[in-house]
């Protein structure tokens, strides 16, 4: 019974961290692509590709967090 309260609160806190992670991954992807474009002079392409990678990374993290939540009884 004493286990229930803190555990539920912990899961709630864990869930509250998902949103920022999704945005941060996308932003990091965009920044990385922009920087590489500036470095290599291939203006639109790497920005596009890395933004998509960033979005994918954000969703990967999201699915991991949610999956971790579901696995625990």
């Amino acid at each position: 019974m004493e286990e229930q309260g803190p555990s539920a609160l912990k899961e709630l806190l864990r869930l509250s961290t998902i949103g920022v992670g999704l945005v941060a991954a996308t932003a990091i992807g965009l920044a990385l692509g922009y920087f590489l474009d500036w470095l290599l002079g291939t203006r639109p392409w790497l920005t596009l590709a890395f933004t998509i990678f960033g979005i994918a990374a954000g969703f990967l993290n999201l699915f991991r967090d949610v999956g971790l939540l579901k696995r625990r009884p």
């Binding site: 941060a24 990385l32 890395f50 579901k70 696995r71």
Partner: protein
């Protein structure tokens, strides 16, 4: 058992006294200081002359977040010195506090990382106590929380980022740790590597932005409410809603930060090969 109950009642009384003192201090500030003093850019209560100007630090005074970081460091050093000065089997008051804190961190580490989790107590404990102390210090009028400045939280986030990667490499070796990033299917490995790399880079960013945003936002709201004290109603809102809420935020954000730190460490040092099927 009786001694424990007495101890608990005494700590309850101490806690009540601290809370009452906090309310009283905020009451006095609201009543007697002009609103200008409690605006967001108010002059902090402690200022240290800029003695590092030859290193390129701008301004006549040290930046407030640096000053208050030093104050937090002083509080923590003095507290841990007082807690471990004379260790006894039956703990005194300060040793009791230190033991309770240590126990809390130990149980968290055991829960989140599992076997061998206590090896990471130095990082997690230091970060947790530093953030908790500075968040709570921001509630005292005239003091600023160092964590309300993005520079401090980025320093914390980057420290955590570098250290959990170091722990992972130390546990698995460099190549095996990199294999973690490549995912389960070999022909997806190049794409997975880039995606995982970006995902890991996003971690210190989200850690630092979350902590900074919460504490800074809460301080901004408090500053605006205190700036409108002469309207009375915002001041009541501050006392009844914002003060308890900001104390709660201080504890919760500390907890979120160290919990995510432990999740990252656990992910870096776990035995599996990165095939995370959920």
């Amino acid at each position: 058992m009786a001694a424990e109950t007495t101890e608990r009642r005494m700590s309850g009384k101490t806690f009540g006294l601290a809370l009452g003192g906090l309310v009283l201090a905020n009451l006095l500030v609201g009543l007697f200081l002009s609103p200008r003093h409690v605006a967001l850019q108010h002059t902090p209560i402690v200022q240290i002359p800029n003695f590092l100007a030859f290193l390129g630090v701008p301004g006549a005074w040290m930046p407030p977040q640096v000053t208050f970081t030093w104050i937090v460091m002083g509080i923590l050093v003095l507290g841990s010195w007082a807690g471990t000065r004379s260790l006894k089997a039956v703990p005194g008051r300060m040793q009791n506090v230190a033991e309770v804190a240590l126990e809390a961190f130990h149980s968290l580490l055991d829960q989140m990382i599992g076997k061998g989790g206590r090896d990471y107590l130095p990082l997690v404990g230091t970060v947790g106590l530093f953030i908790l102390t500075s968040n709570l210090m921001g509630q005292i009028p005239g003091f600023q929380a160092p964590t309300a400045n993005w520079n401090t939280t980025v320093a914390l986030g980057v420290t955590v980022y570098v250290l959990y990667n170091v722990y992972g490499i130390r546990k698995h070796g460099f190549l095996k740790y990199l294999k973690h990033f490549c995912g389960p299917v070999w022909w997806l490995a190049p794409i997975m590597f880039v995606i995982e790399f970006i995902g890991h880079l996003a971690r210190p960013v989200s850690l630092s932005i979350r902590l900074f945003g919460n504490i800074f936002g809460e301080e901004s709201v408090v500053a605006i409410l205190l700036g409108l004290t002469w309207l009375v109603m915002p001041y009541l809102i501050f006392l009844v809603v914002m003060l308890p809420l900001s104390l709660f935020t201080a504890v919760v954000q500390t907890f979120v930060f160290i919990m995510l730190t432990m999740v990252y460490i656990a992910g870096a040092v776990e035995e599996g090969h990165g095939e995370e099927h959920y």
